[in-house]
Symmetry: C2
Subunit: 418 residues, 2 copies
């Protein structure tokens, strides 16, 4: 089967000076991939006429589908709409549907008067199919030229996501006979990428050409992904599952999760299965573990809350960590995190507890307790396990690594319990 | 002065199936921009020989500097190093410095034995200048060809950042006479992008051609950025400041911050100035506000901690929200967030407090209390202010909007206090 290739073009100076991180492209790539469209390239260009024009020409040469986001705002630095009109040989006209939508948003949603600039948002080139925007004022545009499809959408993430889901992906599925692309993923912890690669080398070499293995190292763990491409979904699924089982068996010693889940999702799944509750007592992670857990819808079924004891006063007054402990061995110590577990279990009344205390940097380190030193405790009323870590990264990464490792310790603790 | 243009090429299938969000490019663009290098394009390609080769050829045509990240791992899907060797007409040899580094990392840092695959990491094309990697095993490579500079670095963020800061940026500054690029930024809240654009239209039109205005809407707020390009830093600074003052004056009614700071950084700055402390009581944001505040180094000077009362039991048992209140008006109500403020001020003993309770979705909404309904309270022992919000987005965005608006409410509360 012939692969259908797509290019993603993102437009905006903010992407080229690094003021904004491009999360749109990742989301679009994920969804296109699931639909069976192969994303070949992603290109970001600034709000510069020639740059955008050239990017359209170049990606036209490379892909059948060209998705464009950004540059559709009502301000002067947004030049994409007139450019597209000229590129496809059209002229700008007011689209009645888009106009009604702009009026509706101002009258009913924003509840404020419109100005001329807002009405301009309803203008589209007369050579496109309009994609109505249910979440904002800028309409999307669908162009066809020389057998290529060009789709222009706003850069506002939830507006773009709405258009993709409601219109673009279903239409692409109608237009093309797309292959089936299937992924299976597992997460390993406690083994380096190169060792893993050595360990499963024979497996990788023996894979058929339409099934590929990828290594995705992150936060000191390595995710392994198998990707299969084919025509028949049923047989492909069976084939992929066969190889995935073989892989799981090979890495079982280090396997944390046999699914494409984050560590916090895996912990949540486990807690639901066991019908148990969790709380956290966080010093150095400052609420980040609580945030990761509550970012998942349905977290209230197992996650009760956190005492973020960023200051030592709160460690003492709320968690009842002994003043003497902090004076003698310090807030970053095995003894402190153990006492945090006890205190937090008492106050939050959950089945399991995570407690962390450490030095995230860049300041606050000493020769005895350098930046990156972290104590993590996990436990319940009967038992507490403590582990000491020495991370060597920047503040953000130290926080992320502490959180992921703490969740992995809890996962192991719960699994060992049963 | 001639602009020096750069292209950034990121390599890796994970970027094209959306498994990883590209944060490297944004950071690199930011740093290059500060140095005076204009980032013209960013391109992402997969681990495919022809795609990488073509991207090198194409960006060679467009930019003087081509920065490449990714594809340098020790596993079979990383093909960048042999490709670069062939592209620049070299052959792979072991670099003694890189070899010593790999050995050092395994012996002293990781404290585990090496395998052949790790030694491979020390191989580099004999036509490059090696950039030693102090944070990992894969060396960077600097190539020059036809007056173009190609720099290949690992995709691991902290390794790439280290190489950029220690070597790449200083070397680029030596090689090129770079223009001065200056930015000033302010943040507005409470006014839409199109209204703002209308309001400052005359100002924008009157700007000299080497000073540009950009609108960066995010989280319901609009950031305005002035960018000036020139040769003489001193005169450019004065000129930019003049226009920035004019802009500040025009938007003073909506201006939240006259600096390129996040809302949490602005709140931190204000608290330090007033020598006051802050705590949070979070339900629906689940620790996200605490995380935003503690992501800043030095937060312990003003931020004491949080009670993440995700469950109603904890709202009652720890924050002493009245059981009757929750039964009659519910946990998502003005009365509840008010009581959360009082309870949390008592237990955390801070000067100021933020409390939030809402329904983040996708589940949990009712006709009376739909998804997106949030109550935010900010206050101190004397006074509490409550605001009701109706956000209409997905879970993640609702959490982010709640956090940013809560911090902005606190900022206004503190400023009104003085």
């Amino acid at each position: 089967m012939k692969k259908i290739a797509a290019s993603i073009i993102t437009i905006g100076d903010e992407l080229l000076i690094g003021q904004v991180i491009d999360t749109n492209s990742a989301w679009m790539a994920q969804e296109l991939n699931k639909t069976g469209v192969w994303v070949k390239r992603r290109v970001a260009v600034g709000d510069v006429w020639d740059e955008i024009w050239n990017a359209l020409n170049e990606e036209h040469e490379k892909s059948q589908i060209i998705l464009i986001t950004g540059g559709l705002g009502p301000t002067a630095d947004d030049i994409t709409k007139p450019l597209l009109s000229q590129y496809f040989g059209g002229k700008l006209i007011v689209d009645e549907g888009a106009l009604q939508n702009v009026k509706y948003i101002f009258e009913k949603v924003l509840n404020r008067p419109m100005i001329d600039r807002n009405l301009k948002q309803a203008e589209v080139p007369d050579v496109c199919t309009v994609i109505q925007n249910k979440r904002g004022t800028a309409p999307g545009m669908w162009f066809e030229k020389d057998g290529r499809i060009f789709i222009s959408m706003p850069g506002v993430p939830h507006e773009m996501k709405g258009m993709m889901t409601d219109y673009v992906l279903p239409e692409l599925q109608k237009k093309f006979t797309l292959p089936t692309i299937l992924h299976t993923t597992l997460l390993t912890a406690g083994i380096g990428e190169s060792f893993l690669a050595d360990h499963i080398n024979a497996f990788e070499v023996a894979l058929p050409s339409h099934i590929k293995l990828a290594y995705l190292p992150n936060y000191g763990m390595v995710r392994l992904r198998l990707t299969a491409t084919g025509d028949n979904k049923e047989t492909l699924e069976i084939e992929l599952q066969h190889h995935f089982n073989e892989l799981k068996n090979l890495v079982k010693e280090w396997m944390a999760i046999d699914d494409d889940l984050s560590m916090q999702q895996a912990v949540g799944k486990l807690l639901i299965k066991k019908n148990k509750t969790l709380g956290t007592a966080e010093s150095c992670t400052g609420g980040y573990i609580a945030h990761l857990l509550t970012a998942n819808s349905g977290a209230s079924n197992y996650y009760k809350g956190s005492i973020v004891s960023y200051s030592n006063e709160i460690k003492q007054s709320v968690l009842h960590v002994d003043e003497q402990t902090i004076k003698t061995v310090g807030a970053v110590s095995e003894e402190t995190v153990k006492q945090m577990i006890t205190g937090a279990l008492n106050i939050l009344q959950t089945d399991f507890m995570i407690a962390v205390s450490g030095i995230m940097g860049p300041d606050g380190g000493t020769p005895e307790k350098p930046v990156g030193l972290v104590f993590v405790a996990v436990g319940n009323k009967e038992k507490v396990v403590v582990q000491k870590f020495n991370f060597r990264f920047d503040r953000q990464r130290n926080i992320e690594l502490t959180a992921t490792n703490a969740l992995n310790m809890l996962r192991k603790f719960i699994e060992a319990e049963a």
